[in-house]
């Protein structure tokens, strides 16, 4: 692993944003739209559901914020790769002394920056507009955020691997992959709300434990430590699987000349 390679790749990404600030719109616009839609829905439900609702209804706003962390981390990895594809820069990067790990670490760093920017914005706005304070979750926020970032990275690596394997035609996967899992991730409803068969799918995703934990935390102020353990344990597995998949696909790409094909498209 080389720190200067990672720095260089991150620097390249920062130049991209500072040179064309319009890119930041993508970073701020969609999260804001989600916050407004879910926020006002929350306010409406809160005024009309009475006290027998099993959760503090404002968890929907918390869900928007936490989901966005996962999504941005995934995008950090997948879009980073696509930027190189779009600018026909892929060969320059992969013929430079950059290991897979250097490359991935820089995408992680970028994913983390993206997540930090949007989640801070959402946290502040939800406080101002809806008086929803995500920080009541207290210290549990740290493992929550960390686990979501890690799962986002794993998904990002999987998305990138699929794009390398299937070529630019699969580009939309960069955006689609997180949404494949969203229905089962128990983001906006508890795992119990799913049919039994699908609950099993939910339980195999690290993020479902985080969203469950967040709902409990908002309701009772306490989080079941086993939720955190499950999330972390599953994340280790996902990260390992994604890492192996990524490096396999890269080797395959060298075998089939996929990287050079990308460059010529």
């Amino acid at each position: 692993m080389s720190l200067s390679s990672i720095q260089a790749l991150v620097l390249r990404y920062l130049y991209l944003y500072t040179r064309t600030p319009i890119r930041a719109v993508e970073l701020l616009f969609w999260p804001l739209v989600h916050l407004l839609v879910w926020g006002y829905l929350t306010m409406f439900l809160k005024d009309n559901t009475g006290d027998d609702f099993p959760y503090e209804i404002t968890f929907l706003i918390g869900a928007v914020i936490l989901w966005d962390i996962l999504f941005r981390a995934q995008q950090g990895v997948a879009i980073f790769f696509l930027e190189d594809v779009w600018s026909r820069n892929l060969l320059n990067i992969f013929a430079a002394p950059v290991t897979n790990l250097d490359y991935l670490c820089s995408t992680y760093a970028v994913g983390m920056m993206r997540a930090a920017i949007t989640s801070c914005m959402l946290a502040v706005l939800s406080m101002i507009i809806y008086q929803f304070n995500i920080f009541v979750l207290n210290w549990t926020l740290i493992p929550f955020v960390f686990n979501l970032l890690v799962f986002g990275w794993a998904l990002g690596m999987i998305s990138t691997a699929l794009i390398v394997r299937w070529g630019p035609a699969a580009e939309t996967l960069a955006w689609a992959v997180p949404f494949f899992i969203q229905p089962f991730a128990a983001v906006y409803y508890p795992v119990d709300a799913l049919p039994e068969m699908l609950q099993w799918v939910a339980k195999s995703l690290p993020c479902s434990y985080i969203f469950e934990g967040m709902r409990d935390g908002l309701k009772t102020g306490e989080v079941d430590p086993s939720d955190l353990l499950w999330a972390t344990g599953l994340n280790v597995v996902y990260l390992a699987v994604a890492g192996v998949l990524f490096s396999r696909v890269m080797n395959k790409a060298r075998e089939k000349g996929l990287l050079t094909k990308f460059a010529s498209q």
Binding site: S2, S4, S5, Q7, A8, L9, L11, R12, Y15, L16, R19, T20, E83, D84, S87, R88, N89, L90, L91, N92, I93, F94, A95, A96, P97, V98, T99, N251, R254, E255, K256, G257, L259, T260, A263, S264
Partner: protein, 262 residues
Amino acid sequence: MGEPVLQVTDLTKRFGKVTSVDGISFELPKGEILGLLGANGAGKTTAINMVLGIISPTAGRVEVFGKELSSARIPILRRMNFCSTYTQLPGNLRVWQNLKVFGKLYRVKNLIQRIDEVLEMLEISHLRNRVTGELSAGESTRLNLCKALMNRPELLLLDEPTASLDPDIADKVRKVVSRIREEENTTILYTSHNMRDVEEVCDRVIFMHKGKILFGGTTEEMLQHFEEESLEDVFIRVARGGDIENPRDLTPPAEADREEGV
């Protein structure tokens, strides 16, 4: 003479049923400029990409600086660089930003100074603050070359570096290539469809045809070998002789003698 900077042995690449590179072997001693010639599709770019480790060989070996590429890829890549018509630097960055990023990737010391040097060498200092995507084709080719020179590579791979350059700039680029060899004893592998390039710049030439090496030697040897007046004629003859079953048919007696150890 020390060990060759680049040694390629029985290198083969098959993509499914297509054999792009078919058992080529050659070596490149330090400080030599070797031209890789051949018609479109002869396998030049595939060969270069295997030396860069972007494509893995189906069979054969690539050794650079005395080490097997597959086992020491990163340290080897640090000491080499390439420039290809098939790649571009990110169009949305400024010229200096791109050079800074790649300078850091290759761990270039005194980075800012080096950026100025390479820009000056290719006479594009005035483009320093321009957005890369707005450069003309010839300007961005020269920028690609700047990137390739950033780390003072000991082995430089140039895949059609003069494509899309006007005659004046092409001439300047040839001079730069010759100059860095003079000054830094850089070893260079050079593909081009421009015979002028080859005659002027290369010490030795390898002629590829359908993935195989037909001939290797100096330009003069090649002209003698094929009994033609110019490289251009040789090129056309080989390219049109697409039905040549056995490249040895083209081997004149002198060469055959040598192979038999006479």
